[in-house]
Symmetry: C2
Subunit: 196 residues, 2 copies
């Protein structure tokens, strides 16, 4: 027990958030306790409260920081001067890399967001819905431009996002291909499945 | 409260199993109680025990009855005289239709099997692993025969199964395409993604 160890790149609060994401992923948000978090951070529970107000606040910060990254990427991709298929490939690559490299917080924001409390909860739900609609709009644009097969865009988004959340199994598997190979395989299958 | 209502096609035990699958899906196996099950079946809790021994037994029966259906189908498909791609299409259609029409028990066997107790638990895990390997073997066969792109078969299985488990969102969505359209869209994208 002592002071929270930091390096130059991460603030104390960042470290608390990282450890919280791991703990929430492993135990689930509901079951995880602040006492356990203090233990893995290596401080007294009381000193956590110098940096954050509550367990709920940790969940809010994790979910909204992930949402920010995804929203930023989507906005950047929407304004790209590229084919719809290329935009989708870019977005899928971003999702895959996030699930591979940033698994703890992405997993928590994807599975545990239902424990957010209002106003965060409704706000987060709206953002999820909007995100999927904007993703579907890129697919629809590709269908119109005859780059993409005539499919239901909502179903395509559902397939893509669920396939990518399956990277959870990849993390758990013992004999596995590299993250880069996983990315290439997923892109080959998923983008290939859309291409006209 | 009274006797368990049946029709000619379902035994009393079948009805209990159907209601248990709905209850376990909605509340989770752990949180669901036998008292609640008795309530939705419309009998006293005591009379449930004329048909089943325990809550655990209900989970075993649900998981293993789903496993039987999938194993049977896989065996049938493996012995088909058809291309690998056609076999995969058949298997995916079976998965999709099961998720659409038989959602409660498929969902429970897919998510709640971790609450099985041994010897059922280890047995079920082995069956899951074997099933995925046999599915991957069909894909590998298709790669060898140059019907399917050179991809990692394990990753392809992961993508297919997770995409299909995304039908959970389809069930929850308000404005949705029909089950048949969902099936065609998924096949177009997923089989299309494998095809060389």
């Amino acid at each position: 027990m002592g002071r929270i160890k930091t390096n130059n790149n991460a603030s104390r609060k960042d470290i608390i958030l990282q450890k919280a994401a791991i703990l929430f992923k492993e135990k689930g948000f509901k079951a995880a306790s602040m006492r356990e978090l203090a233990e893995v951070v290596g401080v007294e529970a009381a000193s956590l409260y110098n940096h954050i107000k509550s367990k709920n606040e940790l969940l809010h910060e994790i979910c909204f920081s992930v949402a920010n990254k995804y929203n930023e990427k989507l906005e950047q991709i929407e304004s790209m001067d590229a084919s719809a298929l290329k935009k989708i490939e870019e977005l899928l690559r971003f999702h895959i890399i996030s699930m591979v490299q940033n698994f703890d917080e992405v997993f928590v924001s994807d599975r545990e967001w239902k424990y957010l409390t209002d106003p965060y909860l409704s706000n987060f739900q709206t953002q999820r819905r909007t995100y999927r609609k904007r993703f579907a709009a890129i697919i629809e644009d590709g269908i119109k431009k005859k780059e993409i097969k005539k499919i239901d865009a909502t179903t395509a988004v559902l397939i893509m996002l669920h396939a990518i959340s399956g990277i959870e199994s990849w993390h758990r598997s013992k004999q596995k291909i590299s993250g880069a190979e996983l990315e290439e395989n997923m892109i080959t299958i998923l983008v290939g499945g859309l291409k006209k």
